[in-house]
């Protein structure tokens, strides 16, 4: 039908058909087994690995966020607790201080009262002793004076006592 000047590329030659079949067949087989399939599998594995890594990362991030929220909550709680504890401590301290103050006051008062009493007693004793001494001294003095001037002892002694009582001790 067609006749062309030695356009022989369109005439499929048996030898070339044979060799192409062999060579392409071998190439297909070898490459499938040792290159294309392993490469495709490796690529798929890597793809899966990347996907799972991404998923894991996402999960980790979510967990992290969760953890953070929890931490935040715990921190807030802790802060509250601390504030509460501090407040309590302060209250305790105040009450202790107050109590101590109260106690001290009472004690001080008690001490002061005792001291006063003692002082009073001492004073009384001292006064009494002074009175006695003064009496004695006055008597002595009066004796000295009256030895010469007065004859009656009784009258004189009454006079002196009266005089001594009139002395106000301040």
């Amino acid at each position: 039908m067609f006749f062309l000047l030695d356009f022989n590329v369109i005439k499929p030659d048996f030898g070339l058909i044979f060799w192409t079949t062999i060579i392409f067949g071998i190439f297909w087989f070898l490459m499938s087994k040792y290159a294309f399939r392993p490469i495709a599998n490796a690529l798929k594995d890597r793809e899966d690995e990347i996907q799972s890594s991404l998923d894991e990362a996402k999960k980790a991030r979510e967990e992290m966020a969760n953890l953070n929220a929890q931490n935040e909550k715990i921190l807030a709680e802790t802060r509250e607790e601390r504030a509460k504890i501090l407040k309590e401590a302060k209250d305790t301290r105040d009450s202790i201080v107050n109590e101590a103050k109260e106690k001290a006051k009472v004690e001080a008062q008690k001490i002061a009262t005792t001291a006063k009493l003692e002082i009073e007693n001492e004073k009384k004793a001292a006064i009494a002793s002074i009175k006695n001494q003064v009496g004695t001294m006055a008597i002595g003095i009066a004796e000295q004076i009256i030895k010469k001037d007065l004859a009656g002892n009784q009258e004189q002694e009454g006079l002196v006592s009266k005089l001594v009582d009139e002395i106000k001790l301040n």
């Binding site: 048996f14 499938s32 490469i39």
Partner: protein, 477 residues
């Protein structure tokens, strides 16, 4: 889309057969001075194609030594292999003058015609498969494995043909009844030709491109090798089969080894660098691999992509590798994927993989399309059934036509230099065209680089789409 490509193929054929005729119509002028009968019968043979000498001795065409025995046809001096020797001798024949009284003759076998440069013949020669491998201007012999049913096997190196190391692959010696004609082996069918190494005087061609070996002043008819086109394209079964390691086979082996080496290295990268980012060659090929995986395999095959991916990858890289191999200058420029035999095998592989994977759903859609009226089915079924074969056929023709067309265009652009320089006689024309031609060829090279990728991709994506249709699970609408 398929129709477009078919038209392209035929348009291409018509184009080049026309240009071949045009080129030959000038030849009468060249031959007129040479003392033989070309000029006279030129006009009566308007439609005959080539009329040029097949010999290489462009400097020895001055008409002496015409005695038929002592030709100087072997003086291939290596200077004149620029393409003017692809035509045919058109001398008067003493032996084969049956139809029109004019045929080729061995009388002038050694008498080279410095004929018009014939771009079509040059292009056809360069895109052909050959039994020699050309690297730059050098011709390297290849192993020949020839089988003639009555004779048996002949296995030898094509250097037995004693072709010129820088010529066009025309043998000066016959071996066991085989000769080398423009790089391809032909077999002398006429009985009586001696076996073994026999020096021949030359090879001539008649109007129908049948080659004749000249030996002892006689023409010995030869057969071209058997081809599987069933005679549609002028081939058919002849007296022998050529299973040689040809130029195309060598190219395929080289590409296969190169790709195997590359991909074993790449695959190794995934083992040694497991869990690490890809690096170097691995990273480069991974991008292409992933492109085919994500743009071709996954969209068409879905979850089943892993099963068919190796086939698609093998197709893609094999075609791409061969397309690019043919583009490398001075490496033979092998037109492997532009040879119908190669694309045919690839298409048959695709056809087998697709149809052997076809599930019930696929065959049901071909033979008994569900959900259409019965009378439509009678139309659909033959169409769908034909489609099963047309699909791989278009795969075969598309790749073949694109790559062959690319190679032809490149050769024609380079040929422009020889055409405009009038075979070296017009220096201005030669240099002028050389500049424009270089620019054009460079541009075409860029286009062809793109075509190399596109055609590999198209072949793969269409195979994937056919496969996708074959393995698709029925989905309920």
């Amino acid at each position: 889309m398929h129709k477009k490509y078919l038209t392209l193929v035929f348009a291409l054929f018509i184009c080049f057969s026309l240009s071949a005729q045009q080129g030959h119509s000038h030849e009468g002028h060249d031959h007129g001075t040479e003392g033989h009968s070309h000029g006279t019968h030129q006009t009566t043979k308007e439609k005959a194609n080539a009329h040029k000498g097949h010999k290489h001795d462009g400097h020895n065409h001055d008409g002496h030594n015409h005695d038929g025995h002592n030709h100087d046809g072997h003086n291939h001096d290596g200077h004149n292999h620029d393409g003017h020797n692809h035509g045919k001798d058109h001398s008067k024949s003493a032996k084969h003058d049956s139809d029109h009284g004019h045929g080729p003759s061995c009388a002038h076998a050694g008498h080279g015609h410095h004929g018009e440069f014939d771009p079509a013949a040059t292009a056809f020669h360069h895109i052909s498969d050959a039994n020699v491998y050309s690297i730059g201007p050098w011709q390297i012999p290849l192993p020949c494995m020839l089988y003639a049913p009555k004779k048996g096997w002949d296995v030898f190196l094509s250097s037995k043909f004693k072709f010129d190391s820088t010529g066009h692959g025309d043998g000066h010696q016959a071996y066991n009844g085989y000769i080398l004609d423009a790089g391809s082996v032909k077999r002398i069918t006429e009985p009586g030709f001696p076996d073994g190494e026999v020096p021949i005087d030359g090879i001539i061609h008649d109007d129908e491109d049948i080659a004749y070996a000249c030996y002892q002043g006689k023409m010995w008819k030869t057969d071209a090798k058997s081809t599987a086109d069933g005679g549609i394209f002028g081939g058919g079964i002849t007296s022998y089969y050529d299973f040689s390691i040809t130029k195309n086979v060598v190219s395929m082996l080289m590409v296969m080894l190169l790709l195997t080496w590359i991909f074993l290295k790449v695959a190794k990268g995934y083992v040694t660098r497991k869990g690490m980012a890809p690096k170097g060659i691995q990273s480069f090929f991974e991008s292409i691999f992933v492109f085919i995986q994500d743009e071709v395999a996954k969209p068409f095959l879905g979850a089943k992509y892993l099963k068919y991916q190796p086939f698609l990858m093998a197709l893609f890289f094999f075609i791409l590798g061969l397309n690019l191999w043919g583009q490398v200058p001075f490496l033979g420029g092998s037109n492997v994927t532009g040879n119908l035999a190669v694309t045919m095998v690839l298409a048959i592989f695709a056809f087998l993989v697709v149809n052997l994977s076809g599930n019930k759903h696929y065959w049901e859609h071909i033979f008994w399309m569900p959900g259409v009226p019965a009378w439509v089915k009678t139309i659909l079924t033959p169409v769908e059934f034909l489609g099963v074969f047309i699909k791989p056929l278009t795969l075969m023709l598309r790749l073949f036509a694109n790559i062959t067309a690319g190679h032809i265009v490149m050769i024609i652009f380079v040929s422009l230099i020889f055409m405009f320089s009038k075979n070296g006689t017009s220096v201005a024309g030669g240099y002028g065209t050389a500049v424009a031609s270089t620019a054009l060829t460079l541009f075409m090279s860029a286009i062809e680089l793109l075509v190399a990728f596109i055609q590999a991709f198209v072949f793969t994506i269409l195979t994937a789409s056919y496969l996708g249709a074959a393995v698709e699970e029925p989905h309920h609408h």
